[in-house]
Structure formats: C-alpha cells, structure tokens
Symmetry: C2
C-alpha cells in the first residue's frame, strides 16, 4: 500500500479511501492510483483490513461436506450474502474434523456470525455459541437456545408424505429414523402421529438410523434378511432424508426388489440429486434457496441491530411425487 501511495504520489490514506470506494478522492487521482496498484499487483490484505476496522463483514458457514442438501444451501447463501455486501467463509465438518473444530476455525477467523447447516451439536453448545456471537441454525431446531432458526415445518412435510402413501393403499409403512440429526425428532414424532391418525398405530415401526446412505443400506439389508426368514416386506418406507432413501433404493433394487412395484420409498429434502435417481425419488421438498436467504438475513439483521431477539422462520415443505412411490402391491403378488 505504501508502495502504491509513493508511486502514485499520494498518501497511504488516500489509497485506502480509494480502495474502500469512499468519496474524498478526485476521479483523476482515483484512476491513477488504481492503475498503479494494478501494475504493482497490489491487493488489499484482508487480515490487516479486518484488524483495522472493527468489523469483518464476514459470515461463517459450517456445513457437512458430504451432505448434498448443504451444497444447495451454500449456493443460496453465496448469492444472498453478496447482495448484502458481506463475505462468506466456509468450514466443513468431516469424519475427522468435528463441528466444534469447524466452528472454532470460523470464529478465530473473525466471522461476525455463524450459520450452522444441519448441526448435530449439543443444545448447550449452540446456546453458548449463540450468546458469544450471532448464530443461525438451519434445519436443526433447539428450543430455548439463543440462536436464530430456519427450518421447514417437518410435521407438515411428513404428514403430506404419509397421506400420500396411505392414499395409495399402504398400511405397513416403516420410518427410517435420522437419529440425532437435525429435524429427525420432529419427523419421527410426525410419523407416529400420522400412523395413529390413520388407525395404523399397531403397524408403526421406526428403524434407527442417521442421515447418510449407510442407514438406508443397512435398513435394506435388514428387510432382506427378514424376508428370507419369511416375514413380509413393508410396503412403504418413509426415509429420514434423501440420502437414506437412496441407500435403501440401491440395496433393494440390487436384490431384485422392484420400486415402486414391490415397495414405495419417500425421501426428505429434495436435494438436487434426488430428482436424478433413475426412477425419480418421491420426496418432501425443502426450498434451499429460501432457507439460505432467511438464514443470511437473520444473521445480518441481528448484526446490524444487536438488540434484536433471535427469531424463527418456519417454511412450508411440499411433497414432490416422482417415481419411487406407487400403489400398494397386489395382495397375491
């Protein structure tokens, strides 16, 4: 910066003004300084910039690397953040890199707010985080924690899916659970309620799982083993999310079970891959773009008005019927 200032024959302060696009420099000087900077290859150092101004205008986003729905959300976040003149820092959680670690990285990089996509963390962790900084939790709802929430009305989505299956004649409808995953408790509850409402309480069955393909695969294996022992397959499965549904589909299809003739499968999320399954996955759509928009807006608004209380946005999900669900198999089949 000093080099640029000297070469352009102005003070460092003026260079600073110009690079911040602030008024206070003549058009002529502005052009000259920018030209010199370009020649030298100068680019403002955001570390120093961050340090000097109190604010970083940066939102941190914690996501799970393999969660395809998260990449849908990230796309939306980039778009909205740019609109509002902020920046984004991504930090991924993986097998060997915990959520806590990912969030720590964001905080130490001076993110003003943290957006957590589908967090699995303890409620106390979220609450503490929310008190220390502005935090938004997407998908994962933790009552009484000091964070904003953006999620879909899980109950509504599950209800639509269940009504759809019951209308098709299904009674033996199994739910693959999402474990401690975001939204799973609500989905599980809504599944149980729907079974009760349809008088299918005695048929209700929840299979433990998580939000990965693995739990779908394992459930598939379980079903096949049961079938080999003479038990009938369920006629429909409501998976905890799309990935779980895909795992199930794969396992069953490979074993010769035909979907939806022999069994219907419904997913959850409508991640961008779900409509790319060869048969098309019937699933509950969450609007990733809108969720991202809310998350960013909540964060930015709380940053600009710190006295604001955390809020909650509940979006409406929508069942998308594709090829993986169909009428109940013929009794004789």
């Amino acid at each position: 910066m000093a080099d640029v200032a000297e070469k352009a024959g102005v003070s460092r302060a003026l260079v600073s003004i110009i690079f911040r696009n602030q008024p206070g420099a003549s058009e002529e000087t502005r052009q000259r300084v920018l030209r010199v900077a370009d020649e030298i290859g100068y680019r403002p150092d955001s570390a120093a910039r961050l340090l000097a101004r109190g604010r970083s205008r940066t939102l941190g986003v914690m996501f799970t690397v393999h969660q395809t729905f998260h990449t849908d959300l990230i796309e939306g976040i980039y778009a909205e953040v740019e609109r509002l003149g902020y920046e984004v820092l991504l930090s991924g959680a993986t097998q060997g890199r915990s959520e806590q670690k990912a969030v720590e990285a964001l905080l130490s990089h001076r993110c003003e707010a943290v957006i957590l996509l589908g967090s699995f963390a303890e409620p106390s962790f979220l609450d503490e985080l929310g008190r220390r900084t502005v935090a938004v939790s997407v998908s994962r709802r933790v009552p009484h924690a000091h964070v904003d929430f953006v999620h879909t009305a899980e109950g509504k989505g599950v209800r639509q899916a269940m009504d759809h299956l019951v209308e098709l004649g299904h009674r033996r409808i199994v739910h693959i659970d999402g474990g401690t995953g975001p939204g799973s408790a609500e989905r599980r509850r809504a599944y149980r309620a729907a079974m009760r409402r349809h008088g299918l309480e005695s048929e209700a069955r929840v299979i433990p799982g998580d939000h990965t393909e693995r739990s779908g695969i394992e459930t598939g294996r379980l079903f096949l083993a049961e079938r080999d022992q003479g038990q009938p397959l369920p006629t429909a499965v409501l998976a905890g999310n799309d990935r779980s549904a895909m795992g199930l589909l794969m396992t069953l299809t490979r074993a010769g079970v035909e979907v939806p003739r022999d069994l219907s499968v419904v997913g959850y999320d409508d991640s961008h891959l779900s409509h790319l399954m060869p048969i098309g996955l019937t699933t509950v759509r969450q609007d990733a773009g809108l969720m991202a928009e809310y998350a960013v807006r909540f964060a930015v608004e709380r940053l600009e008005k710190p006295e604001l209380e955390p809020r909650e946005a509940v979006l409406d999900p929508k069942l998308v019927v594709r090829g993986s669900s169909g009428p109940i198999p013929e009794p004789s089949a």
Copy 2:
C-alpha cells in the same frame, strides 16, 4: 489478550508464548494463564496473528459447489492439511460466483497457496496465478503453466473402460464429452484412440456436453428422439463423468430403457455417490484421498522450498465394474 495477561499477572508476551505452545513458560504459569483465558472466553484472533507473523500457514481451496467428486477431495484435503499443521480456507464457485471471484477471495484472505479443484479457467489465468503464488491444479492439466498438477492418467482409465465395453461385445459406443471441463480433452482423445485401435473408427461418435447431470439428460433425450425416428440406440455410452452418467441413466430408465440390458453406461470419477445408484455405476475410479494428499503436499513443499519447480503427479485410475455395464443386447431384442 491484555486482559488475560493482567488478570494472570504476566506480560502479554508470555500469554502469546503460551498460546503458541512455545517453550519459555513454566508449567504452573501456563496452566494459570490458560485457566484465566478460558474464564474470560479469550480466543486468539487469527486476523491479528496472521498480520503479525508473516505467514498464515493457510491453504486456499477453490471448488465447485455441486461437484460431488470435489467434496470427496475436500475431505482428503482437510485430513492431510491438519497432519502438516496448516489451515484450510474453502471458497466455492457457483452459478453466480465465478472461479476468479472465488480465487480472489482466497488470495485476499492471505492464503499462501491455492489449490484449484477441477478448474475451468483459461490457461493464462492459471499461469499468472501460479507465478503470483503457489498454485496446484487438481484434475485440470494445463501444460506450461507455472502450477503443480495432480491428475489421473485419463488415457489409461478410458482405455480400461473401452476395453471392458468391447470385450462385452459392444461396437456402437458413444462418448459424452466434458466440453472444456478438466480432463475432458484427454478423455475424448483416448476414446477416439480406443475406437481406432479396436477397428471401430467408423462408429465413433462424440456428443458435446459438460460435467453436469444436464448433459447426460440431454444426451438421453437425444437418443430417445433418434430411436423414435427409427435409428438404433447405441449399445454403450462412455460418459464424461459420473454426474453425466447419472443424468443419462435417469432419462433412459424413466423412458423404459433398461440398463444394462438395453444399454451399458460407464462413468468417470467414482465419486462417493456413484456406487449408490440403485444398479451401481460402472465407472473409472480416481483415488480422491491420494489426489488430495498429493495436492496438499505439493503446495506445502513448494511453500517451504520456494526454489522448487512445479511438479506433476499422475495417478493410476482403475475401472470399477458395477451393474450399469453388461454384455451387448441380443441382436433380435
């Protein structure tokens, strides 16, 4: 930091030493300072830290949000970077956020090196970037640019896939191209060479596309339209990558074409989703973990020995045969 120092009754410098895990503080003081810091909720500010020490020890990673293979790479990158005591900053390219923009963000955050996953950028852009900083290009090979390369021997992979298909009796083998995507030129060339080698030159057909599901879908539609006009379907397709293969599979399967009975499909990458397709996708496996390891090591080694010339790592791909490829359909069928 000053607060911590005061409350613990030591100088700021000593607090600094302790937080950098450096020798020069007694165990007793160390514990006391850490306890005080914890009480206050102090966490070293990496912006200031960055500014103060010359180095950031941070590698920037540019990736394409929806490219599933990239998430596989990222997982590997996090692991290797941690092992070497560096940090990672992710920056995603999306529809509305160009590669250039994503890279700019990384540079202004003081990344010492940039790892580009499957870049589409102009060779001149890469070369310039490589001269300004340490850059590693994964998958995309740009001869004579001043960057490290990590990629697989595309030719070998394609050859294996083609030999596999020819062995199964296929002759009308079509290639869906990856356009300007990383590796596509090499794959296209290898496809043509393989057709020639097998005496199938006259059957060679390359359909323009890119590395997304869309190009698979469009190719599927094209095939269906051709079939409706009386032309025969090809018997096998070598897709530009897994996503393209998945798009094709979806379109054809929905239209009643059975894979692999009516048509064989081979993908490329073996991204973590490809073995989750219900029928299992035959594909050319690239070892994401190993590629990530090389990329990080190249970057770090060049950072620590700046006189090092850029290098190239060519890994061996391996055909993974799953359910989407099979023998040529019966002539009468």
